[in-house]
């Protein structure tokens, strides 16, 4: 994996899948590569974020420096040295 370490902030309901951490660091040059990296250390967490075919979960939003990733390339959204990624469940359910 190449790229700089990027901070990925997790919602409270997913933290138990990252040993209780509120954030994890991951390496990569795109959002997809960050998720690949997360999958190596926290596989059950990664499965909550995208399915086995690599598609992001429909009701999970990924804000890359404040921009929802689907507006900037989805899993191909570029990330860099100072990027922050926030994972936020969307409004859904009842």
């Amino acid at each position: 994996m190449t790229g700089m370490a990027v901070t990925v902030h997790l919602p409270s309901m997913l933290r138990e899948l990252a040993d209780g951490a509120a954030e994890v660091t991951a390496s990569g040059e795109t959002l997809g590569e960050l998720l690949d990296d997360i999958a190596t250390r926290h596989p059950t967490l990664e499965r909550r974020l995208r399915d086995e075919s690599g598609v992001l979960r429909r009701y999970v939003n990924f804000y890359v420096d404040g921009e929802e990733c689907r507006r900037i390339g989805g899993v191909r959204a570029p990330v860099g040295r100072s990027t922050e990624v926030m994972v936020i469940p969307s409004v859904a359910g009842g």
Binding site: T44, R47, R48, E52, R57, V60, P89, A92
Partner: protein, 360 residues
Amino acid sequence: MDVLLAIGTRKGLWLARSRDRREWDVTGPLLPLADVKAVAIDTRRGTPRLLAGALTSHFGPSMVISDDLGRTWSEPDDAPVAFPADTGEALEGVWQLVPGPDSEPEVVYAGVEPSALFRSTDGGRSFSLVRGLWEHPHRTEWFPGGGGKALHTVIPHPQDANRVLVGMSTGGVYQTSDGGGSWTPTNSGIRADFQPDEYPEFGQCVHKVAMDPGEPDRLFLQNHGDLYRSVNGGASWEPISDSLPGDFGFPVATHPHRPGVVYSFPISARTRSPEDGRCGVYRSEDSGDTWTGPGDGLPNEGYYSAVLRDALCTDDADPAGVYFGSRHGEVYASADEGDSWRLLTHHLPDVLCVRAAVVG
């Protein structure tokens, strides 16, 4: 005797335990917010293993296991049920978890959405896609029913590990006799009233199938309209619901020990609820020729809920217990094979499945 009843709902799992099947200790919600369509109690090991399919709207499907009767749950690091990359598919949910035959104590089957069968040889920690069914030429012609395109019924033959029956909505019944390599549709006589050819080779909207454990060639099938019976292992089917108070239904269950005893929760096709608002579980002791019901203790008016395909079951005690849960969150239990019923719990979310077994 200690009986465990697992209750999967639209928003979590509940467990109920009882020594006399009259007073129950109910705990939950476990797996909060998860849509639990499938639960299994695998009694083939010293401490029974619980397996549950859990789907959350945000975070997708998963499958979890408990080896301490529900106190703790774990999910394997590697996705237990996942489509291989070459299929291009992704798991949408686990609809059925079924232990294999006694001769294969580590085999567990999973029926999933989109319609596919998975098989585990390590007690349910990891599963492999059954390619023979996935690559069946009919697969592209199976389409979703109202609940999704799912393989919701798996019945391993109790004496022949190479024989397995599956049921799909839609698709119908398929069977293998070579361990999953090849599959044959076995729907002769089952009506599909939602298409011009009402008796097709396949494509029926089968809701549930149950096998008579003492006589495995005798099968019962709740279809999208009418209840059916086969006495030849599914080679042909005949309707048996003429005397039932309802021409529709979702579940069907068989007695664990007594051949020919079968349970139905008939409803009206027009309202998708019991005729005249009268809740009833009907029992036949002659393989569906005649029926008795509705059972003492059930609401006899104003009941307009339904019981879904996996929300009626028996336990393995003697006499057998019978259980059902409704879409409005009531669970009823009978400790006397369905003669009389008591409300076990209520005010739960929609009940999607129930499974019961003696666990101690």
